[in-house]
Symmetry: C2
Subunit: 197 residues, 2 copies
């Protein structure tokens, strides 16, 4: 969807929100474009006019999700680097998941598991992970410059944190072991504490 | 399958090997029990006699995989704890994946993504992750006792490593970004180097 005018931007947002609800309700494996249309309050033909397949729609959804995440992080733009890093970890490693968040995590892991079969999913996930890695590296770098973090290897530390964020999400979904997810989250927060100068 | 006698143990091994080949070839999402039967050299009726559904067969496969992994690790039983830990990481975070290993990683991530829908998958993955976590913790504990590792928090360090193993696998499959997977692997090995006393 191109959508430069207000109405089409509204339509796009409504489609993205319908997609979010449908993913929370159905997961990804069995999701149909009809399930998304069922969550869409406007005319179904409008949705089918914009998207032919669920993959096409979901590529746009992944793009929308990354924009939303970047926008959400920008709320911390004026915070100190250690607070920015902790804010990012609060968002990506929540202590508790309510049912909606749990279902959405399940759908995201399913989507990622299907990326080897859909090139455009892989592209979006690569963009997402690069954004996450670059953002974390920028926080660490700024923290070192400000004297708040020790002089650690920036890229190595950012890679570790990205790995731990996805590892926690993946283990959480595949085992449902919330106690382990919490102990992993605590370990990550402890690791960040020890970055401080 | 119970299989205490030699013939049924052979049959079980042959079924498990056929399952491995079918997963490498088809992934999990579209896999049918017929695809597994096609890889099985013995009579198909033997396979269908033992298993009604692909889920049932795959639960046994996950059990078999964990036994195989535990047995593989036991080759390092007499090594020093730091070498045991590095050996485990070599197996779980390989530097390069050939096509077969890459396909098998894809299938494993798909299987884990479906665990929320199949209770017995979740049970097996929980067992697997507990085994991994306990084994890593035992290596670290033995290394501290032997004076080879610093006096780190054993459970926290083990949780970090389990998280990093799965994070690397998950990112590798969902982005295909081998350069990032290698830098993450290097970061993990650097983290282990710094555990040494």
């Amino acid at each position: 969807m191109t959508g430069s005018d207000g109405e089409s931007a509204d339509t796009k947002t409504a489609i993205m929100e319908a997609t979010y609800r449908a993913l929370c309700q159905h997961g990804y494996a069995d999701l149909t474009i009809q399930d998304i249309a069922d969550e869409f309050e406007k005319s179904r033909s409008l949705l089918f006019y914009h998207y032919d397949t669920k993959e096409e729609l979901l590529v746009d959804f992944l793009r929308y999700l990354l924009d939303w995440f970047a926008d959400d992080l920008s709320a911390d733009a004026d915070a100190e680097p250690p607070a920015q890093l902790r804010g990012l970890l609060e968002r990506t490693l929540p202590a508790e998941l309510d049912e909606e968040a749990e279902n959405f995590h399940v759908a995201l892991v399913e989507l990622r598991s299907q990326a080897p079969y859909v090139d455009e999913f892989r592209e979006q996930f690569t963009r997402t992970d690069e954004f996450l890695s670059d953002t974390i590296a920028a926080y660490i770098e700024a923290g070192i410059e400000a004297g708040a973090f020790r002089d650690v290897d920036v890229d190595e530390t950012a890679a570790m944190l990205v790995g731990l964020i996805y590892g926690t999400m993946f283990i959480r979904v595949s085992t449902g072991d919330e106690a382990f997810a919490r102990s992993l989250r605590d370990a990550v927060l402890g690791y960040v504490d020890r970055l401080e100068a």
